[in-house]
């Protein structure tokens, strides 16, 4: 079930990333991080780690054939573990906190990515500060919104509306 959820999430993430790319968005949200964070919710480290692998590989694949395959997989796995660890030891309920956590995860991933590129290539390829900040903000907003939406009891509300129409 989790695998289907991950697959569906990754498919949506790919579509959303392509859509934002078509819109020439300078700082699109990290939708793949959202899939990993979804698996890490509730403190499950193993699902988050395993979801980070395809998520990162897909993200690398989307960046073109010259990209290093596995670069984002590394960071996604690491971030997934961090998020799972945080989720297992703290209780994050509010969407704003979730958004902030996701924004921090974007920054951590960017830092890890920069360090990894420096280790592998010898170059410090740090992203532009405002773009990174914008990506973190948008990812936090989208993630917080999705988390908030996921907490809404849609079935109960629909059932309540049905009952109200019947009465």
């Amino acid at each position: 079930m989790k695998a289907v959820r991950v697959a569906a999430g990754l498919a949506l993430a790919v579509l959303a990333t392509l859509a934002f790319g078509a819109l020439r968005s300078p700082a699109p949200p990290d939708f793949f991080l959202l899939v990993v964070a979804d698996m890490a919710r509730g403190g499950g480290a193993a699902p988050a780690l395993l979801a980070g692998v395809p998520a990162g590989l897909l993200e690398d694949a989307l960046q073109g054939p010259q990209a290093l395959l596995g670069l984002h997989a590394f960071t996604k796995i690491l971030v997934g573990y961090l998020l799972a660890t945080i989720g297992s030891r703290t209780v994050v309920e509010k969407p704003l906190a979730v958004g902030g956590l996701l924004a921090g995860a974007v920054l951590v991933e960017a830092a890890t990515l920069t360090f990894l590129l420096w280790v592998l290539r010898g170059d410090v390829l740090a992203p532009a500060g405002w773009l990174l900040f914008a990506r973190a903000v948008t990812t936090g907003l989208v993630g917080g919104a999705l988390y908030a939406a996921s907490r809404v009891p849609w079935r109960q509300r629909r059932a309540a509306r049905k009952r109200m129409r019947l009465t």
Binding site: L69, L78, Y81
Partner: protein, 286 residues
């Protein structure tokens, strides 16, 4: 990868495995400054000992081949050089001999600035000793103008006279021959005497009165009275002096020209031409 129970209990193991796999995958893709990926670099590093071993073996085999080839080449060169050295040594000996001949010739020309006409240079190519007889062989003969009774001289002095001739060779009688004789003069009293070969390489002067003054190292020359040799040719120096009896000296001469050492001689025309060409000379007592 790992069992579910282990993953559930220790997710750090899964984390480490996944991160390591990612790092390995990335390292295999990253290109280093030399243009190779890390994987290629690692592969090269892994196979480099084998490549070095093969290269060393190949270089060793090539060295052995080069050594064998060089050895053959060196042996051939050594043989060629050895034969060349032998040839050059022969050439050196020939040149030394020619230089010695030239030196003797110059000495002779200096001592006799105007050699007689029809003087024939020749090489004394052999010395023969048979009992009391001592003869020599010249490499010049009648075709070169050598005549019977020709006087053979060396830079040191008288050697002998021609007793037989062929077209290309001539035989001479050495003065040390037991049957050879020449009229000589003693220097101090201008006393005429007769020098005769002793058959042993020396010359003896006989019948010199004991009252005649004679000293060792006196130079005895031909007198020209025998009709065979011209006068004034050095015959030898007095090497031993003794009284044979109360009347005569017993005088031994050391030949002025040693035939054993002389190679270049000159054949002077005979003082008295023989009546018959090739016939026995008047002074030949053999």
């Amino acid at each position: 990868m790992a069992s579910p129970s282990l993953v559930a209990r220790r997710p750090e193991v899964l984390l480490a495995v996944l991160l390591s796999l990612c790092l390995v995958g990335l390292s295999l893709q990253v290109r280093r400054p030399g243009g190779r990926t890390a994987g290629q670099t690692w592969l090269l590093a892994a196979v480099s000992p084998f490549v070095e071993a093969v290269t060393s073996l190949r270089a060793g085999a090539a060295d052995v081949g080069t050594w064998a080839s060089s050895r053959r080449t060196l042996f051939a060169a050594n043989r060629a050089l050895s034969s060349e050295v032998e040839r050059l040594e022969g050439e050196l000996l020939r040149l030394r001999e020619a230089e010695s001949d030239k030196k003797r010739l110059l000495e002779l020309l200096a001592s006799q600035p105007s050699p007689p006409a029809r003087t024939v240079p020749a090489r004394l190519i052999a010395i023969e000793s048979s009992g009391p007889f001592r003869t020599g062989l010249l490499d010049r003969g009648s075709s070169d103008g050598v005549l019977v009774d020709g006087v053979v001289v060396a830079p040191g002095g008288l050697v002998g006279r021609v007793i037989a001739i062929g077209p290309r060779t001539a035989r001479l009688q050495l003065l040390s021959d037991r049957t050879a004789a020449a009229g000589v003069l003693l220097p101090r009293g201008a006393r005429a005497a007769v020098a005769k070969g002793d058959g042993k390489g020396g010359i003896a002067v006989e019948y010199v009165p004991a009252i005649e003054p004679v000293e060792k190292n006196d130079l005895v020359v031909t007198s020209g009275t025998d009709g065979l040799y011209p006068n004034g040719l050095a015959v030898g120096r007095v090497s031993a002096l003794a009284r044979k009896s109360t009347l005569f000296w017993d005088i031994q001469l050391e030949p002025a020209a040693d035939p054993q050492r002389e190679t270049l001689v000159f054949v002077l025309p005979p003082v008295r031409r023989p009546d018959v060409q090739g016939g026995p000379a008047a002074g030949d007592r053999r």
